[in-house]
Symmetry: C2
Subunit: 346 residues, 2 copies
């Protein structure tokens, strides 16, 4: 993949405008996304700032996320279009975790001159695909030149007033749920590191790592039905994120290890020490939802929402510790061993 | 300035919470900022995303800006508190340029472990001072570990619907104005580079470079009075930014060089080749406002607004070129020679 260099910031902006100029947002299942998104964004790229407005009775949800070469992705291993997809997907996941829908985003990108050609175009292809999928328009941003690729994405979403789901509402006795399967993205990352360039980006075992799908449908369903007491997304790993949810709610938790929806690994992987339970507890980047439900509302939950499995994996406790128990009555403290950039650096 | 290292991301977040936890926003001249800001931000730091809502009849203005060590500031020359102040001030300047007021911001910061102690605290002191001054609450963000300091700031502001001032409204015959004095920040940067550590951060000639003050009062006055046809802030330098305003409005411009409000330089500086006109035309980082006014409305403009001088410096033309003329009838094309990260790198 050879990149042509570019002459100025205007060239970079022109590529971005070209990629997003003709973007027509997908009409989502609710038939409203495209209209909602253009109603929401009344002034997009090209001015000092973007202008957004909500429908009456709605609030705006704002979040931002780093996506840095060498910290959050590997410049040599990750395809440019996956970088584009994922930088938006992970910020959108925070919007899903509030029970909201994304509407528009700001893209800050810094990159070397030699990547401002073909690499940038591939990056924008992935980003545009994600933007269509999530119903989220490009509203503006900032570009600059830099030795390494640095990305920061801000997403603005919308939620009906009072329907947002916070981290702080869990109460002792609530059941703890997770969506999907945990540890898949971490396993994907390991495979990617091993295979280096010898992988297909369509490989199903890499898909969740390369092209994660934030749980927008599930998040919104939970918020609209009003069955959920607290929610967040799983970005750093269950052991770290559950601790945060418990801290925000001033509660503790006990997780039943045998209930966790884990990945299946091959015999070879197992022999090499790949442990599905450890992946599920500490693996990052899954972008599944972690949420709590009052016990008396739990029976109103189906097993699948928007095509995604949801699984009860434990219970909220009064004692402010996060514990893990196995099927044999043994239990211990679950240490936060998920992703922490200040603890492990690459 | 020795920094203590920190153990985890939670430590960094704790320092940020401590710095902003007790922040009570200054009640501005209009007596409304503090109330407006807390009404605007209904959920701040500590959840997956922040929640903001506007008063009826208002829209939300969104912008983001990079502030990267080595590109936008010099790690060894710039005091940490100036880095904190300026990263917010420059993003707020985009809000001023829309005629809006800032309400809250998201802070993304990546830094080395050894700067996550005293340096971070000084940075937060400057940031907090700016946040108070601009009436802008910290609403959330993202932190990570990195070899160099990387900052991205997103600001959300508010403007009455239909009162926003865009870049695209200039028409042939409009007068072109700038606020304040141009080239001061560039001169400050040169002094800072020369003096290295031997400078006082209170030096008045460095102040605009270290602690720029976005023109919020002027921007809002212009928007409320409805006298302005197009506006943007001067971040990269007049020659580059005026070109952008003209492109957005599909017009040209002619600047009268003798009308430009330039800095005064010492004899020594002049001998060294420091040229006030070149500083005013191409110097970046001033964060003054550039705006256009219909000729028949120009007489409604005072010479000072909110304590800031405004100066007519030229006229919008039909021919889509940006020209510069001197008092002797000579004129030529004004080349865009302001800051462009993809053209000159440090």
């Amino acid at each position: 993949m050879r990149a042509r260099g570019t002459g100025s910031e205007e060239d970079v902006l022109e590529r971005i405008r070209r990629a997003f100029g003709g973007l027509r947002l997908r009409t989502g299942r609710d038939g409203l996304r495209s209209k909602a998104s253009s109603r929401f964004l009344s002034l997009g790229m090209g001015d000092d700032a973007a202008l957004v407005s909500t429908a009456p009775g709605y609030e705006i949800v704002l979040t931002c996320d780093w996506f840095l070469a060498g910290t959050h992705f590997l410049q040599d291993n990750h395809p440019a279009d996956a970088v584009g997809w994922k930088c938006l997907a992970r910020a959108v996941s925070d919007i899903a975790a509030m029970g909201a829908l994304p509407r528009c985003f700001l893209l800050s990108v810094a990159l070397p001159r030699e990547l401002a050609g073909a690499w940038l175009d591939d990056f924008l292809t992935g980003l545009r695909r994600a933007a269509r999928k999530f119903g989220c328009s490009l509203a503006g941003g900032d570009t600059t030149e830099r030795r390494e690729v640095l990305i920061n994405v801000t997403v603005a979403g919308e939620v009906r007033r009072g329907r947002e789901v916070r981290r702080s509402g869990a109460r002792p006795g609530d059941l703890i749920y997770v969506s999907g399967c945990l540890g898949e993205a971490e396993l994907g990352l390991r495979l990617l590191r091993e295979r280096k360039r010898g992988f297909s980006r369509r490989d199903v075992r890499l898909r969740k790592h390369l092209y994660p799908g934030p749980r927008l449908g599930l998040g919104r369903w939970l918020s609209e039905k009003g069955v959920v007491s607290a929610m967040m997304d799983l970005s750093d790993g269950l052991s770290s994120d559950l601790r945060r949810l418990c801290d925000a709610s001033r509660v503790g938790a006990v997780i039943q290890s045998e209930l966790l929806p884990t990945v299946s690994v091959t015999k070879l992987e197992s022999n090499r020490g790949v442990d599905p339970l450890q992946l599920a507890l500490h693996g990052g980047d899954d972008y599944e939802l972690l949420f709590t439900v009052r016990k008396n509302k739990a029976k109103r939950l189906p097993r699948l929402v928007d095509g995604v499995a949801i699984t009860a994996v434990g219970e909220v406790t009064r004692t402010r510790e996060v514990m893990i128990a196995d099927g044999n009555g043994r239990s211990g403290v679950l240490e936060s061993r998920g992703w922490d950039p200040f603890r492990k650096s690459k």
